[in-house]
């Protein structure tokens, strides 16, 4: 089946940031996103229970330009202050118009 190329941006961050991040992502041009509750460990220690806080994993399929804006925004406003990981991948999708 014929698919088109898009970018998948994944942001893993403390759950308190969920609302702020999803608002930003939509404001930067994404048409949607998907969130799951996750736990994790990293430089800021373990985040594996309600006591320590947990994380969310936000994934959004976007055109390359939007992906770049999201990366830039996360790098500027979140990485310096919070426990955040972000990565980007290529994905094949149906119906380009749904995401752009």
């Amino acid at each position: 089946m014929q698919t088109s190329e898009m970018k998948l941006v994944v942001v893993i961050a403390e759950d308190d940031l969920e609302q702020r991040l999803t608002k930003e992502i939509l404001a930067l041009g994404a048409r949607g996103y998907t969130v799951s509750r996750v736990r994790g460990e990293g430089w800021h220690g373990a985040r594996k229970s309600e006591w320590e806080g947990e994380n969310v994993r936000i994934e959004t399929i976007v055109p390359e330009s939007v992906a770049n804006s999201i990366l830039a925004r996360v790098a500027e406003r979140y990485i310096p202050h919070f426990a955040v990981v972000v990565y980007v991948q290529n994905v094949g999708i149906l119906r380009v118009e749904k995401f752009a």
Partner: protein, 362 residues
């Protein structure tokens, strides 16, 4: 009742034993774990129950007795974080962020420790009544006897003020604010993620809207305005089962504490000592100031417990946002793996014992 008896009474309660079982479970690497959602549900239940009952009790209390204890509670919420901060900074050599964050935790309060203190005093009352009945001083079952029981509690200083949960609520926020102010004043180079709107007003709003504060204040008001009629509608769910639910919660708290024990090495002996001595000092201060404010012995003891207890719901949430450079390992381990178990297991009977001495009761 002497100190050893009170100690045993506390140690042999299902709540404390469940906590110890939780710690053991992690030590033997049990696969027992509580789902997060259950933890959240239990927390909501406990906060709502404490708030509602407190509000109802407030609605039948004499409010003119309230202002002095209220001021006492606020004073504790200001003094404890300041003392803690300087102790941690000067003696413990912690940096500004960590010292402020830990101070915030020890100045604020733990609703579960409070709940356990209430449960402990209810058990003390039941014991006193049992002893009096056995001694033939009080008979059981009639209205006259109920009055005799109340007199008995009063005589032994076991009746606490109806507004105690209001003091819990009052003490939750101020210490956190004080600690954040200290950190701001002490650190020129402070970068409170200020580009992101975590301004001081913002932090205050987040504190007051934080779930534990909101539930406690909200249900205090609800209990107050819905009064006796409202309380009777919901007490079969929020009153009688309270100690049972607390047992489950303390089992989970034990599991979390057990997992934290490994971090004790990381935080070092100073913080462990601080986590034991500071609460004892705060409890003593709380009892003394409570007595000065004219409170009953039980009320002053519970005020002491509040002073001694360290927050683990409101304060961590606030510190993550307002003091992101502080390390959760320090503040969570101290409050959860040292002070919480110390208060629950040793502290309650100890503070009761101190209060008995201070009030010169037996």
């Amino acid at each position: 009742m002497n100190a050893t008896q009170a100690m045993f009474l506390s140690l042999l309660s299902p709540m404390v034993l469940a906590f110890i079982l939780g710690v053991i479970a992690t030590r033997v690497k049990s696969d027992l774990k509580f789902p997060e959602e259950l933890y959240t549900a239990l927390t909501i239940y406990l906060l709502v129950a404490i708030g509602l009952k407190g509000g109802y009790k407030l609605s039948i209390s004499n409010l003119s007795d309230f202002w002095r204890p209220g001021l006492a509670a606020i004073a504790l919420g200001i003094v404890i974080p300041i003392v803690s901060y300087y102790a941690l900074r000067q003696l413990g050599k912690f940096n500004v962020w960590n010292a402020a964050a830990i101070a915030a935790h020890y100045g604020s309060v733990s609703a579960v420790t409070f709940g356990e203190a209430i449960a402990f005093h209810d058990t003390l009352k039941e014991e006193a009544l049992r002893a009096a009945i056995e001694a033939g001083k009080v008979a059981a079952g009639t209205a006259a006897d109920a009055a005799a029981a109340v007199a008995l509690y009063r005589e032994q200083g076991l009746n606490y003020e109806g507004f105690m949960p209001s003091l819990l609520t009052i003490m939750e926020v101020p210490a956190i604010v004080v600690a954040i102010i200290i950190a701001r004043l002490r650190a020129e180079e402070a970068s409170f993620s200020d580009d992101e709107g975590s301004s001081f007003g913002e932090i205050l709003r987040e504190l007051l809207a934080g779930k534990s504060t909101l539930l406690l204040i909200g249900f205090l008001l609800i209990g107050y305005v819905s009064g006796k009629r409202g309380w009777e509608q919901v007490s079969p769910w929020f009153d009688a089962p309270f100690r049972g639910v607390l047992t489950l919660f303390l089992l989970e708290a034990g599991l979390v504490t057990g997992r934290r024990l490994e971090d004790l090495k990381k935080v070092g002996p100073f913080l462990v000592g601080f986590g034991i001595l500071m609460p004892v000092a705060s409890a003593f201060l709380g009892i003394a100031i409570g007595k000065a404010a004219g409170m009953t012995m039980a009320g002053a003891t519970i005020l002491g417990v509040l002073a001694a207890s360290a927050s683990y719901i409101a304060a961590p949430a606030a510190c993550r946002v307002a003091l992101p450079k502080a390390s959760p390992t320090y503040y969570l381990t101290a409050s959860l793996a040292v002070t919480f178990p110390f208060n629950i297991i040793v502290g309650l009977p100890l503070y009761h014992f101190i209060a008995v001495k201070v009030y010169g009761l037996s």
